[in-house]
Amino acid sequence: MVAQALLEVRNLVKVFKSGMMGREIVAVDRVSFNIEEGEILSLLGESGSGKTTIARMILRLLKPTSGDILYKGRNIWKLKGRELIEYYRQVQGVFQDPYSSFNPIHKVDRPLLQALKNLQGIEGSEALKIIRETLRKVGLNPDEVLGKYPHQLSGGQLQRVSIARALLVNPKLLVVDEPVSMLDASTRIDVLNIFADLRDNEGVSILMIGHDISLSYYISDRIIILYKGSIMEEGETDAVLGSPLHPYTKMLIESIPRIEEKWGRKSRIRLDVDQKPTAMSGCKFLDRCPHAFNMCTRKPNLIRKDNRKIACWLYKNNYNQDIA
């Protein structure tokens, strides 16, 4: 029995009802995974695959339709009052869009001061000292950003302030939703390195959401491949991206020209196919899978296979067959 995971996601489901007709969208479909202490776990998937929805549920901003999220063994939806404050002292988030992360009518100082005041009870000059320190830590000059309104700062600066806000309370777990996708290519790697440093120097666990394989390859210890709200493959980054098993993962990797080149313009690929989540009963990848066979009309479970987990009938017991 391994030690308890920092965060445990169990059978998470989120169904959105849209419009008057009550059409249902299954955005997250029975997702389970753990986040361990001090690791960077990448959640990788095309746009619409349910990544942001998962992040918001972990950050307790959106109520799951069913399933549990346990932080240090406790159900986060049972937390109230002081316990909830304590949760946000330990678990923080950064969102994709730095522009809408700030209230246009307030100076950027406000969310920083608020976080320290409400979560730590720190105000005044002590708060200011911590804020300046943290801003420097994310590569900002405090004098250039403090006292400014959001529209006076660049996207890169705002995103760093947003990261600083999350770091002010020294969280144990950070959930970051595509933190660099709206930034210039030139600043992406610097921002990513902030997270790598946090893991290496302070042992912070990070759930890093993305749709860019090479960015995930660059930064993460483990990786989860999500497709239409379900996990397809999960494991160590080198294993999953180095020797993928799931036909979907293979397809993703084949679409990258050279993965050996860890960083470079060519090796970056955007997954631009907008997925439409479906509630169908079979494997979600069925219609795009080159290896589909009769079993695939039933939904495969996520099973352990060698050094990873995989949801594919090709690897299920006696149905295993060579697909090389």
Binding site: Y88, F95, Y99, S100, F102, I105, P111, H151
Partner: protein
């Protein structure tokens, strides 16, 4: 005061507002019309429904806008009528805006069953044939003053505001900075008052201006079909009587043109102000959306 603080923080926007040509032009016309409504009644010796002895006379130094078939001084009628038309517009507009903002905000912020019930109510009000309702109300209330007229207007014109404000609240509520405020441990009350409400202020001002103009026009059409105030005067009532007594056919242009022109100017100035506000405020909102 919250408003002062917002003004303080929006100095840049205020400068833009003052520089906008449309706002300048619209506000100047509106200011002149408001001044006439406030000061006008003190500049005439006749009451609006007082027989002057002169019947159907063209404009003269004694009667700057002439008199009508009943011997009423039209200058007096117009300045008093303008005053009550603006009063109706203000009261009706404030009422409609207040109800609409309240219902729309609660609906959008709290969602769920509250939202469904309130939107059902709103949709019912939207499809009720207002005119039929008004005719029924008018039949029951024999003596209607401008207060009743503006209450009727306010109570029937809030639904579209409620729907618009609901949509606005919904989009603000799901903005990331609201999520971040929640993650920063801010209490719900201050999230509503300090993060969401101030962002709606400019929107609500624009909605009010539209409702103000709408209520004036609404009142004119009510007056015109004979559902206006049974006592007292308004621009719509002057116009109604002018049409009823064939003012134009009889060549008495001074009976119909001045009140009509004032209504047109008033509505145009409000429209132009709103277009200007839209120009100044919306690019900011769009860029941040």
């Amino acid at each position: 005061m919250m408003l002062d603080r917002i003004m303080e923080r929006h100095r840049e926007t205020l400068i833009l507002l003052r520089r906008n040509r449309k706002i300048k032009a619209g506000a100047s016309i509106l200011a002149v019309i408001l001044a006439i409504a406030v000061i006008g009644p003190y500049t005439t010796e006749y009451g609006p429904l007082e027989y002057t002895g002169a019947i159907g006379e063209p404009p003269s130094s004694r009667h700057p806008l002439g008199t009508n078939t009943f011997g009423y001084d039209l200058y007096s009628q117009v300045v008093y009528g303008l005053r009550s038309s603006i009063l109706i517009g203000l009261l009706g507009g404030i009422l409609a805006t207040a109800i609409g903002v309240l219902i729309g905000f609660i609906s959008g912020y709290f969602g769920g069953i509250i939202d469904e019930l309130l939107m059902m109510l709103t949709n019912i009000f939207l499809v009720i044939p207002t005119l039929a309702l008004l005719i029924i109300i008018a039949a029951y209330i024999e003596h209607r003053g401008i207060l009743i007229e503006s209450v009727i207007i306010g109570l029937t014109s809030w639904p579209w505001t409620a729907r618009a404000v609901r949509a606005n609240t919904l989009s603000l509520r799901n903005r990331e900075f609201v999520y971040l405020a929640r993650m920063s441990g801010m209490p719900t009350r201050s999230i509503i008052l300090r993060e969401i409400a101030p962002n709606m202020l400019s929107y609500i001002i624009m909605v009010f201006i539209l409702q103000f103009g709408g209520a004036i026009l609404y009142a004119v059409s009510l007056d015109f079909i004979g559902l206006g105030p049974t006592k007292g005067i308004s621009l719509g009532v002057i116009l109604q009587q002018a049409v009823l007594w064939n003012a134009v056919q009889l060549g008495m242009w001074w009976w119909a043109i001045p009140p009509g022109l004032l209504i047109a100017l008033l509505l145009t100035s409000l429209y132009v102000i709103n277009t200007g506000l839209d120009e100044v405020l919306n690019p900011r909102l769009r860029r941040q959306g």
